[in-house]
């Protein structure tokens, strides 16, 4: 066992921490949050130039060959700054799907575009009524000439409007929740027959409802099918779940620091409220929860290469704990800030909302506790 960062990893950590602190203040972030795109294109390009988009992608496709630890480091810092750019969706989730599932032609075409910042991916997996079941797929793919015809609805597809590529899960056969008969397709996001309803999410991110109506794709668009498709999806979602756990840890750290600072400066009854033991103990509990969350996010990242059952168990343990810890830390931070915590002006409420959305992303605490217990 070795839990030390390498020198290269420490450099990435220092760089991204500095970036978030100096170039991504809450006021600057707002420029992206209120824009049509939902983030800033020039920041995305900056990520590319700094090597972050390719940090965890293989060298043969223009990346730097890093591991899940590089992803964890970046995501924790992004969480700390409530970074809006769709790193999780395009690089982490899209990258994992392509690496695990795509043909080499697709990898050669798309991965270099991802790591250079030329293109982005969105993954359309959730459907109305699917909840967190990745195998619950009603979208159909019917053989049509040399290609396929896609029909179905996808819900809350993050950052679809700013993506050049869509990956969609669809059903070649079988019943709605069968583990078999699933296929993954890679297609341009502006393919004929796709309609989108775009919106902002509670935490200033962007997502879309997507309707696929008789969308024609050629045979090469199919990149994974048969018994392999669901394991590829599950693996990629686990990779993304580990990343969002680190994201949450960053947000928790920021909230803890802000709340601590507030406790030290806010005066009532003639003294700093942090002198009251009832708040000290709640603050200590917040600190413990954050450290537990950090331990679990690290462990999830380190276990991503383990065999599937061990990987799933580690990721679910982490997500279950982090969903619960995130809720408690968020609520406590607002409570201890008093009325100020309720304002739009202060960033506290924005972190609270982000942690709430992360709580149910890729499965909520109960879902993951159940998956953990079943393994």
């Amino acid at each position: 066992m070795d839990l030390r960062l390498s020198q290269e990893q420490e450099m990435i950590r220092d760089g991204v921490t500095r970036f978030v602190r100096d170039d991504y203040e809450f006021a600057t972030r707002r420029i992206g949050a209120v824009s049509d795109l939902g983030f800033r294109e020039e920041v995305w390009q900056q990520f590319a130039d700094l090597g972050w988009l390719g940090a965890a992608l293989p060298e043969e496709y223009g990346g730097f060959g890093g591991s899940a630890i590089e992803t964890m480091i970046l995501m924790e810092a992004f969480g700390r700054g409530l970074v809006l750019e769709p790193y999780l969706w395009s690089v982490v989730l899209g990258g994992a799907l392509l690496q695990q599932g795509a043909t080499s032609a697709h990898k050669e075409q798309v991965l270099p575009e991802i790591s250079s910042g030329k293109a982005r991916i969105a993954f359309a997996f959730a459907e109305p009524g699917s909840r967190f079941n990745l195998a619950h797929i009603g979208m159909t793919a019917k053989k049509d000439g040399d290609g396929y015809r896609l029909n179905g609805n996808k819900t809350v597809v993050y950052y679809a409007a700013s993506a050049e590529y869509l990956i969609g899960s669809a059903r070649l056969g079988g019943a709605k929740t069968d583990r078999e008969g699933i296929a993954l397709f890679l297609l341009p996001s502006d393919a004929k027959g796709i309609t989108r309803r775009d919106y902002a999410t509670q935490d200033d991110q962007r997502a879309s409802e997507i309707i696929f109506k008789d969308v024609q794709v050629d045979a090469a668009a199919l990149f994974k099918c048969g018994d392999d498709a669901l394991p590829v999806i599950e693996n990629a979602i686990d990779v993304a779940t580990a990343a969002i756990c680190a994201d949450a840890v960053g947000a928790m750290g920021a909230l803890r620091e802000m709340t601590l600072e507030y406790l030290k400066t806010r005066k009532q009854f003639g003294r700093a409220i942090g002198e009251f033991q009832v708040l000290q103990h709640r603050m200590a509990e917040m600190f413990i929860l954050e450290e537990e969350a950090r331990s679990m996010a690290l462990r999830a990242a380190l276990m991503l290469d383990a065999p599937a059952p061990a990987r799933k168990k580690a990721v679910s343990a982490a997500k279950s704990l982090i969903a619960r810890a995130g809720r408690q830390i968020g609520q406590e931070a607002v409570q201890m800030h008093g009325g100020m915590g309720m304002t739009h002006e202060l960033s506290v409420g924005h972190y609270f909302k982000r942690l709430t959305m992360i709580g149910s992303m890729f499965g909520d605490g109960d879902f993951h506790r159940k998956r953990f217990a079943a393994l």
Binding site: M1, M283, A284, R299, F372
Partner: protein, 398 residues
């Protein structure tokens, strides 16, 4: 980074596992597995096995008989001992007073006491708490007055675990009353056979009598038994408490208990189905197990920092708080798991070699007393509320 054992780590793990399997006496293993009461002789026999192997004091420097293991190696050792059903090494000597003697004691004290601690010749107990000084430990009043080459010690210690077995007690005593309460405390090593010492057992509500009152009445203690400097005892006490908190997480023992809980929950039936398959119960087990995983990973992070030269800081209070919450959580689920079988109070059934047949399942007799007894865990070693004070003050700066 790598979460797996290194090649040497894996080799060492196998070595420890094989050693425990081959050398742990079968009767002791049976008692540990069944949650039955361990006697003094059981602890001492196992400690002597470890002593003969040179493994009794993993945390000590090699020059005094330690193993020289890295923190992560110690973690593997603890884990394999616990998973192999070995009893815990009693901390008071090896893990509590010895580090203080090594750090602050003089050569004569090191030569006299350390070998006897290693060989389990001396059983130590801890004289910290007093009737009026629990969480506010520094308010302690047991006083030591200098008289020639002796101190004369008068006062009372309480909650003294296993003092009935002890040959020696390390005591915090008041040598000065003039300044702040933390000043004027000294650290004395006292022979339990000294005239004027009386040990009275305190029965606890689980039915055991493992804690005691220790009364000291004009007890003469040679000045050579003072550790470090007079009036500096508070510093040594805090040093010791820091050491105590690291081991207090008891990750490996909780893992073992978790295995036992699952075994029992898989045996107990609800309308013909294993209790373990009931969603409500499975969820409760999962919550504790997830907490245990987080605790272990947090401990590994702290050990990793320690390997890099960082001494364990006040963050180790996390380990005390969460470690004891998890231990207590498991005892709670154990008593829930066995339903009515927890009700019969048959003390003899919790002793190995009993003549009475058990009531209900074989594993039931010790479960309720264990749950009762383990309420102590969030109180001893600095209550969990005190640990939160430590985090608030020392880590968060409140």
């Amino acid at each position: 980074m790598d979460i797996n054992d290194s090649v040497e780590g894996a080799k060492f793990r196998t070595e420890v596992r094989e050693f425990v399997a081959a050398n742990l006496p079968a009767d002791i293993k049976r008692k540990v597995d069944g949650g039955l009461r361990l006697e003094k002789d059981d602890y001492v026999r196992w400690q002597r096995v470890l002593f003969d192997k040179g493994w009794i004091a993993p945390g000590w420097p090699t020059e005094f008989g330690g193993t020289g293991w890295e923190p992560l190696q110690r973690h593997i050792f603890e884990e394999e001992c616990a998973l192999g059903s070995a009893p815990a090494v009693i901390s008071f000597g090896v893990n509590m007073v010895a580090p203080v003697i090594i750090e602050f004691g003089n050569d004569a004290q090191k030569e006299k006491y350390l070998p006897r601690i290693l060989s389990s010749e001396d059983w130590w107990c801890q004289g910290y708490s007093e009737p009026g000084s629990g969480s506010d430990l520094a308010s302690l009043q047991c006083k030591a007055v200098r008289d020639g080459d002796d101190y004369i010690v008068t006062g009372q210690k309480t909650w003294t675990t296993l003092a009935q077995y002890a040959d020696m007690i390390f005591c915090l005593v008041r040598t000065d009353n003039s300044g702040k309460k933390q000043q004027g405390i000294s650290f004395l090593l006292i022979d339990m056979k000294s005239p004027g010492i009386t040990v009275r057992p305190i029965r606890t509500f689980d039915g055991s009598a493992e804690i005691n009152e220790v009364h000291l009445e004009d007890v003469r203690v040679p000045v050579e038994n003072l550790v470090g400097e007079e009036h500096m005892g508070w510093t040594y006490a805090k040093f010791l408490l820091g050491h105590e908190r690291v081991g207090i997480a008891q990750v490996a023992r909780s893992k073992k208990q978790m295995q036992r809980l699952k075994m029992i929950a898989n045996t107990e039936l609800v309308d013909g189905e294993p209790l373990l398959s009931q969603p409500e119960f499975a969820a409760k087990i999962a919550d504790v197990e997830i907490g245990l995983i987080a605790l272990e990973m947090t401990e590994l992070r702290i050990l990793s920092d320690e390997s890099a030269g960082k001494a364990p800081g006040p963050e180790s209070s996390i380990l005390k708080i969460r470690g004891t919450e998890i231990q207590q959580g498991i005892t709670e689920l154990l008593i829930e798991a066995i339903g009515y079988d927890a009700h019969p109070w048959v003390p003899a059934a919790a002793i190995d070699g009993r003549n009475e047949p058990p009531i209900g399942s074989d594993y039931a007799a010790s479960i309720a007393p264990h749950y009762f007894n383990w309420r102590k865990a969030s109180i001893y070693g600095g209550s969990n509320e005190i640990q939160k004070n430590i985090i608030a003050k020392m880590v968060l700066g409140l």
